[in-house]
């Protein structure tokens, strides 16, 4: 992997939530130049790509079928083809890839493909997940469609669209978004326009500065120390530990989470004070049972050296996670002391 790794972001959101409209505006912005956009449409005949006219330096690829289930291999192949054309100078030397999912797609398997497919993963870096929700139907959609709640839950940024159609935003929508994913900043789109050049730079890696921005990436759920945030199924909470965690404990903990939670662990982001590496914290990221190898920061991003683990999970009680970590670390400490 070199510093030329390309950020790839996922744009998701339920049917009719305004993804394509927003993208249509974005691809004409100078900030968005040199972007390769992959549009996934459900069904044999795509239409959305016809609505988007890219600028000279950006271009559109189209995939049909459901990205999250039957054509994940196709996504990897499309990405590989893009990278090859870029390497051979057969297309614009794009600096960013955005994948617009179909409105019915589950983003988690897409993230897993980006993390694990050996043909492309070494060339890419996760730029984050942006989810659109519309101000008109958003509340009803979130109530009715489980997949829309999941799309919100895994987001690094949430864009509320169609505000112009309702005047002011309904407080109930903002409350619902806060319940599902309080850690994700909410951006308002005006007639599909978003004035946020950093919208798709929501990952740990900041390509402009070639640095890591762990504090904003971790974006802890507000009030998470006071109470966890309950949805009927999805909960976001933070676990904070004063004491360093042994490397073996972290490994066992992640193994147990993967084993017992599987697809219910929607996302885990963490900065961890590892006992064996007190000056270089580990940054951990996982989607369901797939985890990146920890990234080791050169230094702590602030004076706060506590471990902070942000969970977005479905039906995984916070207390169980806390006790699991505490019990594993206590056992590892006991075994270590006995040697």
């Amino acid at each position: 992997m070199t510093a030329a790794a390309i950020p790839v972001s996922v744009l998701t959101g339920f049917l009719g939530s305004g993804k394509t409209t927003m993208l249509r505006h974005l691809v004409r912005q100078p900030d968005f130049a040199r972007t390769a956009v992959i549009i996934n449409e459900f069904g044999e005949i795509g239409l959305d790509h016809e609505l988007i006219e890219a600028s000279q330096d950006s271009f559109i690829e189209l995939m049909t079928g459901c990205l999250c289930c039957k054509i994940r291999t196709d996504l990897a192949e499309t990405l590989q083809d893009l990278l090859q054309r870029r390497d051979e100078g057969r297309c614009t030397a794009f600096d960013r890839i955005v994948i617009e999912t179909s409105g019915l797609a589950d983003p988690a398997p897409i993230l897993q493909t980006l993390m694990t497919d050996a043909t492309v993963a070494t060339r890419l870096v996760l730029g984050g997940v942006v989810t659109t929700v519309d101000a008109v139907n958003g509340i009803a959609t979130l109530e009715r469609e489980g997949i829309s709640r999941k799309q919100i839950a895994v987001a690094d940024r949430i864009v509320v669209t169609k505000r112009d159609m309702v005047g002011s935003l309904h407080p109930a929508l903002l409350r619902r978004l806060d319940e599902l994913n309080a850690g994700a900043p909410v951006v308002i789109a005006d007639h599909g326009r978003v004035a946020s050049p950093s919208l798709f730079n929501a990952g740990l890696y900041e390509p402009q500065t070639k640095s890591t921005d762990v504090m904003s990436w971790l974006a802890e759920p507000a009030d998470s120390h006071a109470h966890d945030r309950h949805d009927a199924e999805i909960t976001a909470y933070a676990i904070v530990r004063e004491e360093p965690i042994r490397a073996v404990s972290l490994s066992l903990f992640l193994e147990a989470l993967a084993e017992h939670c599987g697809s219910d662990l929607l996302r885990l982001k963490a900065i961890v004070n590892i006992a064996e590496s007190p000056d270089r914290p580990a940054v951990v990221h996982g989607v369901q049972h797939v985890f990146h190898a920890p990234a080791w920061l050169d230094r702590w991003p602030s004076g706060d050296r506590r471990s902070r683990l942000i969970f977005i999970a479905r039906r995984i009680p916070q207390r169980w996670v806390e006790v699991l970590l505490a019990a594993i670390d206590a056992e590892v400490a006991a075994v270590t002391a006995a040697k």
Binding site: A4, T212, L252, E255, H285, A295, V323, A327
Partner: protein, 105 residues
């Protein structure tokens, strides 16, 4: 194994049953063993200090050893949760940051 470690193990088992939505309760026997009363009878003893493993788990009278609490959890869940299909950790090919600082310390 001290009382604090046993208490933590007991709470972990109680919380695990709740998390898995499995019916059952956890009690501590007079000799210190943890006993789970559910669809099966499970008894969990701490291993002798010189053993190569940490725990002994007896499920309906059949005893197996476990090298860690994580292994105990696995055995308990396999016994009590018929719908359980475990996942294994998969490590991503892509690093989290494409940068020299991504190397291990």
């Amino acid at each position: 194994m001290n009382n604090a470690q046993r208490d933590l193990a007991r709470e972990l088992l109680e919380q695990s049953l709740a998390a898995w939505r499995v019916t059952g309760s956890v009690e501590r026997a007079g000799d210190g063993a943890l006993v789970i009363l559910g669809s099966k009878s499970i008894r969990i003893d701490a291993a002798p200090p010189d053993a190569m493993f940490r725990w002994m788990v007896a499920i309906d009278g059949r005893q197996r050893v476990a090298i860690s609490l994580v292994a105990v959890l696995r055995q308990v869940r396999e016994a009590l949760d018929p719908g359980y299909a475990k996942n294994r950790v998969r490590v991503a090919v892509a690093p989290l940051v494409p940068y020299p600082s991504g190397s291990s310390p």
